[in-house]
């Protein structure tokens, strides 16, 4: 009995789906409408996703950063030579052959012309100590070599080289009265460091009239569990006015404002467009039901109960929406995934380069949204179809 009922449901739904070609125009409109919504949703959210990915992927949990107490970012922080030594000697820091794995760093900003617009944009120039590579653990040279200490040499992140003109190996950039030569290109695997330019901190200090001061200290922890000990050691030390944070923590706080903005913007646009498409889908399904009035009445007259009729209308709506959703998601993936761009991060006042990321989760969410639009778009028309008085519907012209 149950299987009979199910097969009945199935047959009526299939019968309905096969009649879609008779309503090509309006069916196509509904599907394309949904495809447009899904493409925009996926596209806008892939910006937020890509940005978030860049900001978090560089942060290994066993690396910590120390800034002056109260400073939210490296630019507003400042630490003296004595302080950076105390930080390096705090318990919890891993030790290498040459002592503690800590790198005291300077962070300044320089203006370079952007490739796309030709206008100047801010690039972070970071002065690091020789230990920085071992501390980060994920820096790989793509071309050339590392800078030599004491020389006016720089290495550039892969993202920075892509976005800015004049950063190929052998080229020189003039910063103030100093000339620096590009000797290498590095990557941190798509992380935030890829947007930076690195040089020797000892060379950067005099060039910037900084004296023996730094802005941050990066340390490698003996293990991620040692962060508690390290953090305590920093905050309990009466000679230090500094706070420690793990790198993932720090990076996510640095990108909070921008990723929140992009996400809110994306969700808002998607909800509005979704509403517009929902009204469109409702219209399409109401007219699909209207054009099949006689057909549906005939089914009912033959003794088919209301359920298969409701299900068949819903099936049509969901199939159309899903088709639109899949097309829209595929188009967004094709157009946006991996799209390289850069923007200004307010909180660091400098450029971050990143790729749009259409993740599987995003695709699934987009297609789910299409299905939900289809469900709601079909529900009321389906109920109307089921409630139609048979006699007058058969007479419908």
């Amino acid at each position: 009995m149950a299987s009979n009922w199910l097969s009945q449901l199935f047959t009526v739904a299939l019968f309905n789906l096969r009649s879609i070609p008779a309503r090509k125009g309006s069916a196509l409109t509904a599907a394309v409408g949904i495809a447009g919504v899904v493409a925009v949703l996926t596209g806008v959210l892939s910006i937020a996703e890509g940005f978030r990915k860049t900001m978090t992927s560089a942060g290994s949990p066993d690396v910590a950063i120390v800034l002056r107490a109260g400073a939210e970012n490296e630019m507003t922080s400042g630490l003296g030579r004595d302080e950076t030594r105390l930080i390096a000697d705090t318990p919890g820091v891993a030790r290498g052959a040459a002592g503690p794995l800590a790198s005291a760093e300077l962070f300044v900003i320089i203006s370079l012309p952007k490739r796309t617009t030709g206008t100047d944009a801010n690039v972070p120039l970071r002065g690091v100590e020789g230990t920085a590579f071992e501390v980060r653990g994920n820096i790989r040279m793509l071309e050339g070599r590392r800078f030599e200490s004491g020389k006016n040499e720089i290495i550039v992140g892969a993202g920075a080289r892509r976005e800015f003109a004049g950063l190929n190996i052998g080229q020189e950039i003039k910063v103030g009265r100093n000339v620096w030569t590009v000797v290498g290109v590095f990557t941190s695997g798509g992380g935030i460091s890829d947007s930076e330019i690195w040089t020797d901190a000892a060379v950067l200090q005099p060039a910037y009239n900084r004296g023996p001061t730094f802005q941050s200290v990066y340390v490698r922890l003996a293990s991620p569990e040692d962060f508690g000990i390290f953090k305590n050691g920093i905050s309990k030390n009466p000679e230090l006015k500094a706070t420690a944070r793990t790198l993932p923590d720090f990076y996510s706080s640095q990108s909070e404002m921008l990723s929140q903005f992009i996400t809110v913007f994306g969700v808002f646009i998607s909800v509005m467009m979704g509403l517009g498409a929902l009204f469109g889908a409702l219209n399409t399904m109401y007219s699909a039901v209207a054009s099949r009035t006689r057909e549906i009445a005939t089914l009912r007259a033959l003794g088919f109960p209301a359920a298969p009729v409701v299900v068949s209308v819903l099936a049509e709506s969901i199939v159309l929406s899903l088709a639109g959703g899949v097309v829209g998601a595929a188009a967004a993936y094709w157009a946006f995934n991996g799209y390289q761009t850069s923007t200004m991060n307010f909180q660091t006042f400098s450029q971050v380069s990143f790729n749009f990321a259409v993740t599987p989760l995003l695709l699934a969410a987009a297609i789910a949204m299409a299905a939900i639009l289809g469900l709601f778009g079909g529900l009321f028309p389906a109920l109307r179809a089921a409630r139609m008085p048979i006699a007058s519907a058969l007479r419908d012209s």
Binding site: G25, S26, T29, A30, V32, G33, G36, V37, A39, V40, V44, R68, G70, A71, E72, M75, T76, S77, V108, I109, I110, S111, K114, T116, T117, T119, D120, A121, N122, V175, G176, R177, Y208, N209, G211, M257, F261, F265, F268, I269, M272, M273, L275, G276, A277, F279, G280, L282, N283, T284, Y286, S287, T341, S342, T343, M344, F346, F349, Q351, S397
Partner: protein, 390 residues
Amino acid sequence: MKFLSLIWSSMKRKKLRSVLTLLSIFVAFLLFGILCILKESLTGGVSATDAARLVVRHKVSFIQMLPQGYANRIKTIHGVSLVAHQTWFNGMTKTMDNASDVVVPSFPVDPEIFMKIYPELVLPASQMEAWMSTRTGAVVGKTAADKYKWRIGDHIQLTSPIWQTEAGANSWEFNIVGIYTGAKKNTDLSGFLFRYDYFEEMRGGLDKSMVGWFGVRVDDPQQADAISKRIDDEFANSPWEVKAEPEGAMVQGFIQQFGDIASIIRAVLSMVFFTILLISGNTMSQAVRERFAELGVLKAIGFPNGLVLMLVLGESCTVALLGGLTGLAMAWVFSLGGSPVPNFLPVWYMKPQDIYLGMGFALLLGLVTGAVPAIQAFRLRIAEALRRDA
């Protein structure tokens, strides 16, 4: 206009369908309006700039400081009338719920010259006097005052991670003596201004007598580029080389750093309009097709072809304008409410040009969606139409 009732009754023919179409057009234009506000907010800084103003900064970047004494040298350059310096203070205060610290855009300035160079900041004369006579006095923009519930007479503290007092404290004391408003709609009122003499006397550290950048007023805006060049040359090969540029160019460059916002917004809007065009166009064709028999009757009783065409176009334009204008009106109402994120986007209003553009789009939408069914109705033969079954 006597045919308006005819148009109206054909819209009422299928109420639900008309309402749904209206709603989808309404949503599209609401989105259009809000995106226009957002675009203006993100890129409109340029229209808030003054063509007679230059900005002079360290050649390497904004964060590098310049000697305060440069002001006098800039002032002697031909064509320059006033010079005022500013410095980024990065003052922080608690949010209203006391949960976290936020940065207030705060700058030590020389009050008299600064207010002359930035006349769009309007401060009552009595408050200006109070500022001149109170060393710890500060004036705040109306947006900031509303946000942090600051009133004249309040004694407040800001902490700065960059600037410490000679005594080594991060916390700075101020008395609010004035609240400034904007002469224009797009004036940024989120700032906090205090006296440079107080700042200079109190601050310790290496950067004493250094300032962030200079605002320069020139006699003749036409000469802005030439004067910028003269200022650059004046300091070439000095320990602190500068870059001078008109304020508009500086803001434009700053905006470009965000990437091409305008083209992203244009792309989203064209997707929205394409989708809506498709949906409402299809509905319109269907609505007309269903009424072919009726249109045939109209023609049979003597309506000329052209009038039938106009009737159909009139209907589609009515639907588009009704939905479009209410959407735009709603966006306008939304813009009056002020920015939902005043810290991030302080300027929040709808440009009249954008409203006219939206109206134009609504009319265009009506004409395009009505075109195909209107031509079909125009060509319709009476005999055929009357014979039609559905």
